[in-house]
Subunit: 364 residues, 2 copies
Amino acid sequence: MIPERHLFGPGPCNPYAEATEALARPLLGHLDPAFLQIMDEACDGLRTVWGTDNARTLPLSATGSAGMEAAFVNTVHPGDVVVVAVNGLFGQRMCDVAARCGAEVVPVEHEWGAPVDVDRVVAAHPSPSIIAAVHAETSTGVRSDIAALGAAKGDALLLVDAVTSLGGIPVAADEWGIDIGYAGTQKCLGVAPGLAPFTINDRAFGRRVERPQSWYLDLGLLGGYVGEAEQRGGKRTYHHTAPVAMVASLRAGLHRILEEGLEAVWARHEAAGRALQDGLQDLGLELFAQEGSRLPELTTVKVPEGVDSATVRARLLADYDIEIGGGAGAYAASVWRIGLMGPNANPSSVALLLAALGETLGRR
Amino acid sequence: MIPERHLFGPGPCNPYAEATEALARPLLGHLDPAFLQIMDEACDGLRTVWGTDNARTLPLSATGSAGMEAAFVNTVHPGDVVVVAVNGLFGQRMCDVAARCGAEVVPVEHEWGAPVDVDRVVAAHPSPSIIAAVHAETSTGVRSDIAALGAAKGDALLLVDAVTSLGGIPVAADEWGIDIGYAGTQKCLGVAPGLAPFTINDRAFGRRVERPQSWYLDLGLLGGYVGEAEQRGGKRTYHHTAPVAMVASLRAGLHRILEEGLEAVWARHEAAGRALQDGLQDLGLELFAQEGSRLPELTTVKVPEGVDSATVRARLLADYDIEIGGGAGAYAASVWRIGLMGPNANPSSVALLLAALGETLGRR
């Protein structure tokens, strides 16, 4: 018997019902006119949530981590200087991925739990090709100021990880000066994991690697795969078989979000996150992320002295079918990560989580 | 309104009902013990259909084309000689992908429609690092003799594309000497596209690239992601968020296949394909793939003189909700590709396709 869980960890969350229903619809061929329309609608919806007019906005056929790889693999020429703001696990991963693309990586280390220090990042190198940062650090629950980074980027391309922000808190790629962005479907977009919503503007595309080391993630080839080439008078061409069920699900999830209204969805995430954070503090728990930079959709909380993290998580799973996450990296046992994303960003999830955690800790 | 299609093209096919149902189940977290069990069962099922004991057998989190990329990116050291048997589009693609990994590619060209000439391939270079070939060429409908290639490979690693063969016709990775193999889910496995079933043996893994240019497809990191590390006394470690819905669907599809019995499934594909090919010839049509090397699951047929390929395909779609494929590459307008894969490999699909095509062509 497969259990039914409340997915209150750092992702995946429970998907929107519309996204799940779309997965179960009869399958279409990847070149069927009806599917091409679904793909185009998914790309349109992504443009809205990204806050961009970029023609090259599409769901890559792999998970969010492949979005990170696509971002670097298409834009890093051997020897390029890439400044990476590292304030958590995913900033660290960026360094690894960029280095594999031949970058000269300049990491700018931050304490975990703190937001990106824009001044330090910009001062790290006089003329980087790329400045990279994570908007919402999934490992720490911290939000950084991407607009400030965009205003200060100079001639560099700004590459942003929006995995845990897209669809949950405001993202304004064009206004903020994001040149390359990637995300995942399984966080605030409320869709199962499996696709990487991706966007790249003309400025970054013009500086791209002509024949990147990855064929699968080659944006020069992928433009023909979605409608982007058609918009420019070109032709839609076969590249690889689109994951049609996942794309249909993404389109349905985006439709659901836009029907509610993006600002209403953001407000819902904000309200749920703040209520959760207040409630956790009322239980006597201490939050981990720096005050003023706390993500509403993903809350990090310190495991109290004398409490075994894994035992609590196992009891929540066994007694309440509630999943929360452990910490990342050095904080694996000392931090919990609690996500209220997508359809889970609501008062009932807050009440359930606080009740279950309070009872498990013997604090109510 | 989204139409319901008979997917008789080169893939995706209509999925097995069990695979679709699994997509719609409540989602599990990617580290949930219940999901890890599903992942392990999917890997076990893949070992059975691959005919292998390889511990490193897993569904990669991207489509079949990423399986090709993973195969080369993990095994090609800069300057390595890679002999590629090219008898269709996917052999051509292998050359591109291998070159991006720094290989010295030695392509062995064949006429499209013909199987791989093992003697010519083996004679192409005295000491290649890798010999690569496509078992079932999706572009031509041709089956090649991988067992013969394995027997003649010498010290080279044998890298095989089984995208359109796995789950439809016999594949015996260990017996045939396949060192590295990849496939897709959307062909004979009868699951939606989105994953790349992958297998690599100890011999190939021992010669792998320690830090491949792709982080996402790095098999050294992915061993910890599935149960393989645990089997060796190691620990399951987070790499990326598994596409949990797709993995659950693959496990359900594999369970469905193994419940029927792999030999029975192969026999069903064989019977449907032969009946289709006989029927097409009875309609006065000429088959494209060389006799003796025709795949049962994917039939290629020449478009008759004076018939417009696209018009016929559009009418089949509009009048019967039947999708068949055009040809690939230079044969785009002169060949049709008709697939009877997964649940579509049955007498009713044969009858429907022959009736609809016969009527559309005015031949019955």
